[in-house]
């Protein structure tokens, strides 16, 4: 514990999942041949004019909505001027004065307590080209130039590195689920900067702020903040002062490293972008963007839990969007969600991982899945049966009944036949029967196992258990 009060603000840049760039009709793509996704607008050629991609506006409206922001109806872009090879126009087009969203929040939960992380603003801007530094040269790839971004800025209201981590996890979940971004930090489609300062007393003004740029993962954000607070604390302990600065986190070094003492906001000489007139959002545009949002994680979690799924499994489902979407087909039915979830996260996931398939690429129709879950719930199918026929269920067009018949699965549900087997096992294992009568539960499991072995796993376990207990208690 440090003796200082920590103040943290987070800025996140997120690349939007659109087909084309923000101001040009070049493809918005990742991992393609360098400089193959550009045109004269992205390259900043003189005389070119930007045009706004409708989908960028729609996606930004969705982002503002899921982050509980107010939405600004009249906006304009500004030019942020700076000379740097990543931006041949020598300015970045950004919403400096009229961010599309403002005054929002994201709710996180710490030790069962809810806390709102306040969002100062969300603004739209263009990404710059990607530069890689190799010895004495830098290599530029303009595929990223003009990719649409939103920047999400929190108020300085985050008090610990753990809160910062929880906020980013929640933000990523929300943006990913809303189809706003694929939020891959390793590919740079989500990038986080942390502003960190410390002060002695709550009544003091905020301390000198240091910004840690472009941290590569959420866990590193937590680490970077902890290192930076330690560094600032050590300096203040020694009575030393420091200037506002930009640093980066070196994960090999496990510390933050100075990049530069900050240029001030004025140095960017912002002025309105004269090539793009006012953007005016009608209620119709706003509402239709919001209406197109899919169901968000919190609502899914609530529904799953209300239908008997454990929190752990609900979270596992939500972490796998395709499975969660698939299960949502049954929200208005009386399907056994607990059994369905076990099936999806268990045998079906194992199959999908092994075959590198998506659930939507299988032959598991909604009718078939519902039939399967019911047959497992009422013990018509045992887990062993399922393992034998699952591949067929997922790969063939046939119904479950057809597959059961074809595979000759004779799930023994004939109680007379089972009764005989139960009696046989009881007579062969008198010691276990005595143990059971003396209250040893293990004996019951042992006897069950023997019966299942005798029937080669084809007996209905529920029925076996009922008959066995009945016979033992006679």
């Amino acid at each position: 514990m440090t003796k200082y009060i920590e103040t943290i603000g987070i800025e996140v840049h997120v690349e939007l999942k659109t087909n084309t760039k923000i101001f040009s009709s070049s493809k918005n793509g990742y991992g393609q041949m360098a400089n193959s996704l550009t045109n004269v607008i992205d390259l900043g050629y003189p005389g070119t004019l930007p045009t706004i991609n409708m989908e960028v506006i729609n996606t930004a409206i969705k982002a503002a909505h899921v982050l509980n922001c107010k939405i600004r109806k009249t906006q304009h872009f500004d030019r942020k001027n700076y000379f740097y090879p990543d931006n041949p126009k020598n300015y970045q087009i950004t919403e400096a004065r009229t961010p599309i969203g403002y005054d929002g929040y994201v709710e996180i939960e710490i030790d069962g307590e809810k806390k709102k992380i306040e969002i100062e603003e969300i603004h739209i801007e263009e990404d710059t080209c990607k530069s890689a530094h190799r010895g004495k040269v830098s290599l530029l790839d303009f595929n990223r130039a003009g990719v649409p971004l939103i920047e999400i800025v929190t108020k300085p209201c985050i008090s610990t590195s753990l809160e910062a981590k929880l906020y980013l996890e929640k933000l990523r979940e929300l943006l990913f689920y809303s189809d706003i971004s694929d939020c891959k930090m390793e590919e740079g489609s989500m990038r986080a900067d942390a502003n960190v300062s410390i002060r002695k007393n709550i009544t003091d003004p905020f301390g000198v702020k240091c910004e840690i740029k472009n941290i590569g993962s959420i866990s590193n954000v937590k680490l970077a903040i902890e290192c930076e607070i330690k560094r600032q604390s050590n300096l203040l302990d020694k009575g030393e002062s420091f200037k506002e600065q930009t640093r980066r986190f070196d994960d090999k070094l496990g510390d933050t490293v100075l990049m530069r003492v900050k240029e001030t906001g004025n140095d960017y000489r912002y002025f309105p972008e004269p090539d793009i007139p006012y953007i005016v959002l009608t209620d119709e545009v706003i509402n239709s963007a919001i209406k197109s949002l899919p169901m968000l994680p919190d609502e899914r979690r609530e529904i799953y839990i209300s239908k008997g799924v454990s929190l752990v499994n609900a979270n596992k489902l939500i972490a796998n969007r395709d499975l969660s979407d698939y299960l949502n087909n049954f929200i208005d039915t009386d399907l056994n969600f607990k059994e369905a979830t076990n099936l999806l996260l268990g045998d079906i996931s194992a199959y999908l991982n092994r075959e590198e398939k998506n659930i939507n690429d299988t032959k598991l129709t909604i009718e078939k899945f519902s039939d399967l879950v019911n047959k497992i719930s009422d013990n018509t199918l045992t887990s062993k049966n399922l393992k034998d026929i699952l591949d067929k269920i997922l790969e063939e067009d046939k119904t479950i009944d057809e597959i059961i018949k074809e595979c000759g699965i004779s799930n023994i549900t004939d109680s007379n036949m089972l009764n005989d087997i139960v009696l046989k096992i009881i007579s062969e294992n008198p010691d276990s029967v005595t143990d059971y009568k003396n209250g040893k539960d293990r004996a019951l499991k042992y006897l069950m196992g023997q019966i299942m072995k005798e029937t080669k796993g084809s007996a209905n376990p529920k029925l076996v258990s009922d008959i066995l207990i009945q016979e033992l208690n006679k």
Binding site: T18, N19, T20, S24, S25, S26, K27, M33, A34, N35, S36, L37, T38, N39, V40, L43, T51, I52, N53, M54, E55, V56, I57, H76, Y82, F83, Y84, P85, D86, S131, A132, H133, R134, G135, K136, V137, S138, L139, L140, D141, F142, K213, N214, M259, R260, D267, R269, P272, E273, P274, D275, I276, P277, Y278, I279, V280
Partner: protein
């Protein structure tokens, strides 16, 4: 009102524009840039209290573009105007990493 900019102010602007200037140029810009600023400042004398903030030279609002991919340049064309290249990359003198 002072009649020229300080040397620091001129050097700061030169640095933002990433240009090097000589001592002589520095002295002349202290005066010339100040004259330029004063001229621009006359705009502030206009009474614009009742005027809407016009950001573009016409009154219409922005129209939006459909999100469908259009024509792109062949990378060969892109690289034609660059003095130095490395593979398909444009090569420039190293800059301090922002990343």
């Amino acid at each position: 009102m002072k009649d020229k900019l300080t040397k620091e102010e001129v050097l700061h602007v030169a640095n933002l524009a990433r240009i090097e200037i000589t001592e002589e140029e520095l002295e002349s810009y202290q005066v010339k840039l100040k004259e330029l600023l004063d001229q621009v400042n006359t705009v502030n004398e206009i009474d614009d209290n009742n005027t809407d903030y016009l950001i573009a030279p016409w009154q219409n609002n922005s129209e939006f573009r459909e999100d469908s991919v259009g024509g792109m340049l062949d990378p060969k064309e892109v690289l034609k105007n660059t003095p130095r290249k490395s593979g398909n990359y444009i090569e420039v003198p190293v800059v301090i990493s922002n990343e």
